[in-house]
């Protein structure tokens, strides 16, 4: 039995929820708290092909701009259009409605070595 979805975490404070071979990516609650109130999210275009480590999204707070990186190779399938008018969703629901983009996964082995929720939580201490 494989679970319906698995969520991974990166050292760059992103979460990746994998469901039916599609990854939904966002920043963690810890990350949004560190960044402060977000005022603009620069989202990629659906269809863009990306490589692991690409700076794909820029989240802008009042004070600074920060990159969000692609956690795996693949192709952008959709972006969270709601963030265009309401970037604060990332602050209020970073690991839910504040998701950034979804993408296909070219090579599932790139997920190996990412953290699970418990390991990520410990890494914050």
């Amino acid at each position: 039995m494989t679970p319906l979805s698995t969520t991974y975490y990166t050292e760059d404070h992103e979460w990746i929820r994998v469901e039916n071979g599609v990854a939904t990516v966002g920043i963690t609650d810890h990350a949004q708290e560190q960044l402060g109130d977000l005022v603009f999210i620069d989202l990629p275009s659906p269809g863009a092909s990306v490589s692991k480590g690409d700076a794909l999204v820029v989240v802008e707070s009042v004070k600074a701009a920060s990159d969000v990186y692609a956690p795996v190779d693949g192709e952008v399938k959709s972006v969270n259009e709601a963030l265009t008018s309401e970037p604060g969703l990332v602050n209020s629901a970073a690991e839910g409605d504040g998701w950034l983009w979804s993408m296909s996964i070219a090579d599932e082995s790139q997920l190996e070595g990412l953290m699970d929720a418990e390991t990520y939580k410990k890494s914050l201490d």
Partner: protein, 367 residues
């Protein structure tokens, strides 16, 4: 982590920790950058109620003695002879090229005594410069050890009155010494009415707690301080001003008395007179990006034909105006309001309109 270990801590660090502050390095200090309220609400709270800032990183330098007035007149383009007791002047230390060593507030406390408020990042440079220029003057120059707070916003005066300071007759850009060891001006860096209050270290915690306990008052961090001053069109030294920019290019001619524009006894006077006569090559302007994406310091600006037009020196998001706000330097012939330029943000062009400063209607009255 050696960098953070060498950072200076504010005297009220523990109080800020208790208030839930997040800290970040600024000008060699570990500064509260935001509090649990968050930068957006901190910004809005200051405009609507009253914001409390710890600005103890700024340096108070007292200049006193028989030659104090002469020294100030040599250091800064101010008309010291007509500066009345208690009057605060926004002015500059200039080098021989009329480049800005620092921007300052100079308050006259007595015929022979002045208080200079210097920027944190420039404090040591300023003090060394003042001592150099003062070499043949009969003055004492003392950097004071104080906690320095700013209370800004429409309720600032009412809150001050409740803490025992009668500020009803105090005009904006005036100041004095309300108690021994204290120094207070009605001034600020937000575009709002407000006060900057320096006090002895042993009085600071009680006073800060008293202010913070007022329900109209909230602690405000450095991030909101920056967005507040940017909306108000105020310069940040190191971003919008440096030793290669002069007051005319910076659009700060209002701070230079008319009688001192064609020359004077202050350092930099002859070069500044030349710039007044010929006009500056570049001018500081307000810039408003189309759309919602902030354009930040360092972004290059071009004209539609691709030729360089200038650069953004401060930029971010304005929580009160609810759009991106920026300022920068552009070629003088492009400085007219309405000119459209293009900023390069991560390789993508963003249209920016030259606009009047400030972005908000200032509520700080001129003295």
């Amino acid at each position: 982590m050696t960098e953070s270990e060498s950072l200076k801590q504010l005297p009220l660090q523990a109080l800020h920790e208790r208030a839930g502050a997040k800290f970040a390095p600024f000008a060699g200090w570990s500064m509260p950058v935001s509090y649990p309220l968050g930068v957006l609400k901190e910004h809005l709270h200051t405009r609507e109620h009253a914001g409390l800032f710890d600005i103890s990183h700024m340096r108070l330098i007292e200049v006193a003695g028989p030659d104090a007035a002469d020294l100030v007149a040599r250091l800064c383009p101010v008309e010291v002879a007509s500066q009345s007791l208690g009057a605060c002047k926004y002015t500059f230390l200039l080098n021989d090229n009329a480049g800005i060593i620092d921007d300052l507030i100079v308050t006259r406390l007595a015929d022979d005594r002045f208080m200079i408020v210097a920027n944190a990042g420039r404090a040591e440079t300023d003090e060394a410069w003042i001592r150099t220029v003062a070499a043949e003057h009969d003055v004492s120059i003392e950097a004071l050890d104080r906690v320095f707070l700013a209370l800004q916003g429409p309720y600032a005066a009412a809150v001050m009155a409740e803490t025992g300071f009668d500020v009803s007759d105090m005009r904006f850009m005036s100041g004095g010494e309300p108690r021994p060891g204290w120094f207070m001006t009605r001034s600020g860096y937000t575009g709002e009415d407000g006060f900057e209050i320096a006090m002895p270290l042993d009085r600071a915690e009680t006073f800060a707690e008293t202010l913070a306990a007022d329900e109209r008052v909230s602690w405000i961090g450095l991030a909101a301080r920056d967005s507040l001053r940017l909306e108000a069109g105020l310069c940040l030294y190191g971003n919008d001003l440096d030793e290669t920019t002069d007051p005319v290019s910076a659009g700060l001619t209002w701070a230079i008395p008319k009688t001192l524009r064609a020359g004077g006894s202050y350092v930099g006077a002859s070069r500044l007179a030349e710039i007044f006569a010929s006009g500056p090559d570049e001018k500081r302007v307000g810039l408003q990006a189309e759309g919602r994406q902030p354009v930040r310091a360092g972004a290059p600006l071009t004209v539609s034909d691709g030729k360089p037009a200038g650069r953004v020196t401060s930029g971010g998001f304005g929580p009160s105006v609810e759009h991106p706000v920026a300022m920068g330097y552009v070629r003088a012939d492009l400085a007219q309001t309405g000119t459209v330029l293009s900023a390069d943000v991560r390789g993508r062009p963003i249209a920016m309109h030259v606009t009047k400063l400030p972005f908000i209607t200032k509520r700080s009255q001129k003295g």
